[in-house]
Amino acid sequence: MRCRSAYPAVALLAIAQLSVAAAAEMPPGASSCSGCHAVSTGVETPVPGLIGRPAADITTAMEQFRAGQRPATVMDRIAKGFSQAEAAAIAAWYAAQ
């Protein structure tokens, strides 16, 4: 908090950077998901959205896809491209949106 109280201008600059901080925090792979998993509401698609979904739901699904224990079309393949830790980071990011 010293940053904010001692240097108000610095805090303002930092606030302006909120969105960049968010981008930087977007874990590897997360930005690709929205090609299929709609971020906007009202898109007619059978693919479920990820925004605001509990992180545990996403990580469980990814583990089951990876293990071939969940019916899948492309997610059984895509899940194999991510470690458990990477999938957990993506899940946490979407859960927080």
Binding site: A14, A21, A24, S32, S34, G35, T45, T73, V74, R77
Partner: protein, 420 residues
């Protein structure tokens, strides 16, 4: 207050760094994006989303983008062209400046883009997303005039409708030939999806007709899935002639509407010539193409290997093992936007993972897919081991139907993200 505190807490570590860098930086970094397709539009939007302070200008000559994915359905009479058309107006609502001009040059030293009306746009970072241009003349006899009689339909729009009209005008029993180039080209499975959907049309409307694919390759994307489906759905209708079976077209004669291979001259009723391709012309003018005609890039930032501060995304880029697809263009756009936002803020871009998923329809209710995850490996975007694969060959019809529905949903989703 809670939000602010949480945010400040998260940003404390960055405070000092940003203070110094932003004191030097100008208030509003400028990014120019050339090209309003899947790559360019997605990138412009992602840049604004990641950092609203970035002044983003999108340079695009056309008010409307006509999407290629699903345009094979238009060719086969299953869909209207207007379902492929997307206005760029809504990007202006996101605070993106639209320059309705053709980019005519890039000056990497001055960091400026020249426009057709004589204006110049300065940039701190430039994103080049021009898609493909056709290599007129690379296939002897095939130039712009020839395309009016033997359409390529590889850029969606008037050419798509021309091919459709020719198929509609053809008599039952006619021969359709599709000529396919060697790799790389836009949408690797596209020619085979097109053959499938044209066969779907012929089977219903002109069942005595035949379709021959003359290929400059010996293997193609989702090959087994396509070939199995052809036997199942269109027996005897589609013939694929591989490179080693003499399938490479070596010249065409537009007046005679004929295509020649080393072994034979074909004289079809309808000839669809998909010619060799290269990065859109502005990439060549900007000096960012290599001898192949495509743009080499850094796999982390998509920055050109030839010119600093210029990034290339989508079909024009040499993105390692990634195919030239709309999904890849959109995914690359978001990774590139994050990297550019980080670079402009003086931060280090993170090494990405980028996904590609590509659906093809072999019939309106029969979809197949290929998917993979890519990451920078030894300076190239390479597949993550185990992540790459196509739909199972032995899947029940419910899976094919589901993939066709998901393909449709994907198109709605990606076009909403880019243009909606």
């Amino acid at each position: 207050m809670t939000t602010r505190r949480r945010f400040l807490h998260g940003s404390l570590g960055l405070c000092a760094v940003f203070t110094v860098r932003f004191a030097r930086a100008q208030a509003s970094p400028r990014v120019v994006v050339i090209g309003g397709g899947f790559a360019g539009a997605s990138c412009a939007r992602a840049l604004k989303r990641f950092d609203r302070r970035i002044a983003v200008t999108l340079v695009e000559r056309d008010a409307m983008f006509t999407a290629c994915p699903f345009s094979n359905e238009v060719v086969a009479g299953l869909r209207e062209l207007r379902a492929q058309e997307f206005r760029l107006d809504k990007l202006a609502g996101d605070g993106i400046e639209l320059a309705r001009q053709e980019a005519t040059g890039i000056d990497p030293q001055a960091r400026a883009v020249a426009l057709a009306d004589g204006a110049r746009l300065s940039y701190d970072r430039l994103i080049v997303a021009p898609g493909i241009d056709l290599r007129w003349g690379a296939l002897p006899g095939y130039d712009e005039a020839a395309a009016e009689g033997m359409p390529h339909a590889w850029k969606a729009g008037a050419q798509t409708l021309l091919l459709r009209r020719q198929l509609e005008a053809m008599e039952d029993g006619g021969l359709v030939v599709i000529s396919v180039p060697a790799n790389p080209y836009r949408c690797p499975p596209g020619p085979y999806e097109r053959a499938s959907l044209i066969a779907h049309y012929l089977k219903a409307k002109k069942p005595h007709s035949k379709l021959i694919i003359l290929d400059a390759k010996d293997a193609f994307s989702k090959q087994k899935l396509f070939q199995n489906a052809w036997v199942e759905l269109y027996p005897g209708l589609i013939e694929w002639v591989s490179l080693s079976a003499g399938g490479k077209v070596t010249s065409v004669d537009a007046k005679a509407r004929s295509l020649a291979t080393d072994f034979q001259v074909y004289k079809p009723a309808v000839a669809n010539v998909i010619p060799p391709q290269k990065a859109g012309q502005i990439a060549e003018l900007g000096g960012i193409v290599d001898r192949t005609g495509w743009c080499p890039i850094d796999p982390v930032t998509f920055e050109s290997s030839a010119q600093p501060s210029i990034h290339v995304i989508g079909d024009a880029a040499i993105a390692g093992a990634m195919p030239k697809s709309a999904f890849a263009a959109n995914a690359q756009a978001k990774v590139c936007a994050a990297a550019v936002a980080a670079l402009l803020a003086g931060a280090a871009p993170q090494s990405p993972k980028v996904i590609n998923t590509c659906y093809s329809l072999v019939a309106p209710d029969y979809g197949i897919s290929v998917a993979a995850v890519y990451t920078p490996t030894n300076g190239q975007l390479a597949e993550v081991a185990g992540s790459s694969g196509v739909s199972p060959t032995d899947a029940p019809s419910s899976v094919r139907t589901a993939e066709a529905k998901i393909a449709d949903g994907w198109f709605r989703t990606i076009t909403t993200e880019a243009f909606g």
